[in-house]
C-alpha cells in the first residue's frame, strides 16, 4: 500500500497532505495516506506545516460572548464530577528557577534558565498526572476496604488475560473501575470506559495511563440504570460512542 504512494506525483501527495490536515480526505485516500505516513518524513512534515495553518484559521472569526448561564452550567457540571483541587498546594512547582543576574553572561543565563525552566516544567506536568492517578488509586482502595459494592469485569477475546472490578462506596453514585492485565497501547490509543443501559452506551471516562497493565479510574457518571460496564480501545482523546474493540465487560 505504501509502495503505491511512493510512486505518486509530489503534487498528489501534497493534495493528500492538505486534505488530511483539514480532515477532508475520503476514506480510501485516508487509508492510503495512513499506510504511507510512517515511512515518509516529507509527508509528515508537510501535514504538520499545513496543520499549523489549519489551527490558525479560526483566528479570523469575530469572537462571540456567551450567555452568562453557559459558564455556570459548565462549571457546575464539572464540579459535580470532581472535587475542587486547591490551587495553592500545586502553585509552588511552577515557580521559575531564579539565578543571580549579575553572575553570568546574559546568553549563558538565558540558555540555562530556558533549559532548566522547560525541564522543570515537563517534570512537574508528569508529576501532576501521576499524583492524580495515585490519589484515585488510594481512594479506590479505601472504598474496597470499607466494603463497597463490587462487580466483576472479564476480559474479552481481545484481552483474554485482562480482568477488572467495579467498586462503589455507599452513598457515592460514581464507582471506581480497576482493570488489570490490559495490553499496552500505542500512544495514539487509550482505553475508554462505557456505561451501558438497555444497549445504549454513554462515555464514562478515559482510563489514565496505567502501570504494568493496571489502570484505576473513577467513572465520570453515576451508574444509574446501567446494566453493563465495558472498556474499549479508542483513539487518544476518546470517542463519543464506542468505535474500537471491547477489552473488558461486566454485567451489573
Amino acid at each position: 500500500m505504501s509502495g503505491e504512494l511512493e510512486k505518486t506525483h509530489p503534487e498528489e501527495l501534497e493534495e493528500l497532505a492538505a486534505g488530511y490536515a483539514l480532515g477532508a480526505l475520503d476514506a480510501d485516500d485516508l487509508a492510503r495516506l495512513r499506510a504511507h505516513l510512517p515511512e515518509c518524513d516529507r509527508c509528515r512534515t508537510l501535514i504538520a506545516e499545513y496543520g499549523s495553518v489549519v489551527v490558525a484559521l479560526p483566528a479570523e472569526l469575530d469572537e462571540m460572548e456567551a450567555s452568562p448561564e453557559l459558564r455556570d452550567r459548565i462549571l457546575e457540571a464539572a464540579g459535580a464530577k470532581w472535587e475542587t483541587t486547591p490551587t495553592e498546594r500545586f502553585a509552588a512547582p511552577f515557580a521559575r528557577p531564579r539565578a543571580p543576574l549579575w553572575a553570568l553572561p546574559l546568553s549563558a543565563l538565558l540558555a540555562v534558565a530556558l533549559g532548566l525552566g522547560y525541564w522543570n516544567y515537563r517534570l512537574q506536568q508528569q508529576l501532576a498526572i501521576q499524583t492524580a492517578v495515585i490519589e484515585d488509586q488510594q481512594r479506590a482502595l479505601a472504598v474496597v476496604a470499607a466494603g463497597g459494592r463490587q462487580w466483576t469485569l472479564a476480559g474479552t477475546d481481545s484481552a483474554p488475560r485482562a480482568g477488572g472490578v467495579l467498586v462503589q462506596a455507599a452513598g457515592d453514585p460514581r464507582p471506581f473501575l480497576f482493570a488489570h492485565d490490559l495490553p499496552d497501547l500505542p500512544p495514539q490509543q487509550m482505553y475508554q470506559a462505557w456505561i451501558i443501559a438497555a444497549g445504549t452506551p454513554q462515555e464514562a471516562g478515559l482510563l489514565p495511563p496505567g502501570q504494568d497493565g493496571t489502570h484505576v479510574v473513577r467513572l465520570d457518571r453515576p451508574l444509574g440504570s446501567a446494566d453493563t460496564v465495558a472498556v474499549t480501545i479508542e483513539p487518544a482523546g476518546g470517542s463519543r460512542s464506542p468505535t474500537g474493540r471491547i477489552v473488558l465487560a461486566g454485567k451489573l
Binding site: 484559521l57 483566528a59 459535580a80 498526572i129 476518546g238
Partner: protein, 211 residues
C-alpha cells in the same frame, strides 16, 4: 442558593484556594497542567480565556446560537474529562480546545445532515515540529494576518477551504456540492493551504519561529 457542587461555594469553603484572578495571569500550559490535576479553577480560567473564539467557531459551523453554546459546553467538559490526553508537545491549549470544538460541531452538523462521521486523525503519525502560530503570534496580529491571507485567495480556493474546515465536507462531498470535478477540488484545497502556509510561515519567521 448554592449547591454543594457550586464552584464559587466550593472556593469559599476552602481558604487555601487562590482567587481565579491569580490564575488569569498563568500561561495556557500552566493552566493545562492544573487541569490535568483536576483543578476546577484552571477550567474557569481556560473558559474565560478561550470560550469566545470557541463559540464563534462552533457558531460558524452549526449556524445556531443554542447549538453552538451546547458545543462549547461539550468542549470544555470534554477538556475537563479528557485533560490526560492533552499533549503540550503537539501544540497549544487554544488549538487543542478549538480542535475539540470544531470536531464536536462538525459531528453535530454532519449528523443533522445525515452524513457519516469523519475519521479521527492520527496525531502520532504527524511531525509536530512546526511552530504553533496560535502560541507564537499575538492574537490581534494573527487575526489580521489570517483574515488578509484568506481574503487574498481566489474565491474558489477560499470556498473549498471553508467547505472543508467549517462545513466538515470531504473532497468528494465538496465536489458533489459544488459540481466541480474531484481532482479540481483537491487541487484547490492544496493550493489554498499552500498559499496560507507560505504567508503564515513569513509571519512565524517575523515572530522568531521556525517556519
Amino acid at each position: 442558593m448554592s449547591s454543594p457542587t457550586d464552584p464559587p461555594a466550593a472556593r469559599r469553603r476552602n481558604k487555601e484556594v487562590a482567587p481565579v484572578s491569580d490564575l488569569a495571569a498563568r500561561s495556557d500550559e500552566d493552566l493545562m497542567a492544573l487541569l490535568q490535576r483536576r483543578d476546577l479553577q484552571a477550567l474557569e480560567a481556560l473558559y474565560d480565556r478561550h470560550h469566545r473564539l470557541a463559540l464563534a467557531l462552533a457558531y460558524r459551523v452549526v449556524g445556531d446560537r443554542d447549538s453552538a453554546e451546547e458545543v462549547v459546553q461539550e468542549t470544555f467538559l470534554a477538556a475537563w474529562r479528557q485533560s490526560a490526553s492533552y499533549r503540550p508537545d503537539r501544540g497549544g491549549a487554544r488549538g487543542w480546545l478549538l480542535s475539540i470544538a470544531r470536531h464536536r460541531a462538525i459531528d453535530r452538523l454532519r449528523k443533522a445532515r445525515g452524513l457519516g462521521q469523519v475519521a479521527e486523525l492520527d496525531e502520532s503519525l504527524v511531525d509536530h515540529r512546526s511552530p504553533d502560530l496560535t502560541q507564537l503570534v499575538h492574537e490581534g496580529s494573527l487575526r489580521e494576518r489570517v483574515a488578509e491571507a484568506l481574503a487574498s485567495l481566489p474565491i474558489e480556493q477560499r470556498e473549498a477551504i471553508e467547505l472543508a474546515f467549517y462545513g466538515g465536507l470531504t473532497h468528494t462531498e465538496i465536489s458533489e456540492q459544488t459540481g466541480v470535478p474531484l481532482g479540481t477540488v483537491k487541487g484547490r484545497v492544496r493550493l489554498a493551504l499552500e498559499k496560507l502556509r507560505l504567508t503564515l510561515a513569513d509571519l512565524a519567521t517575523e515572530m522568531g519561529g521556525r517556519a
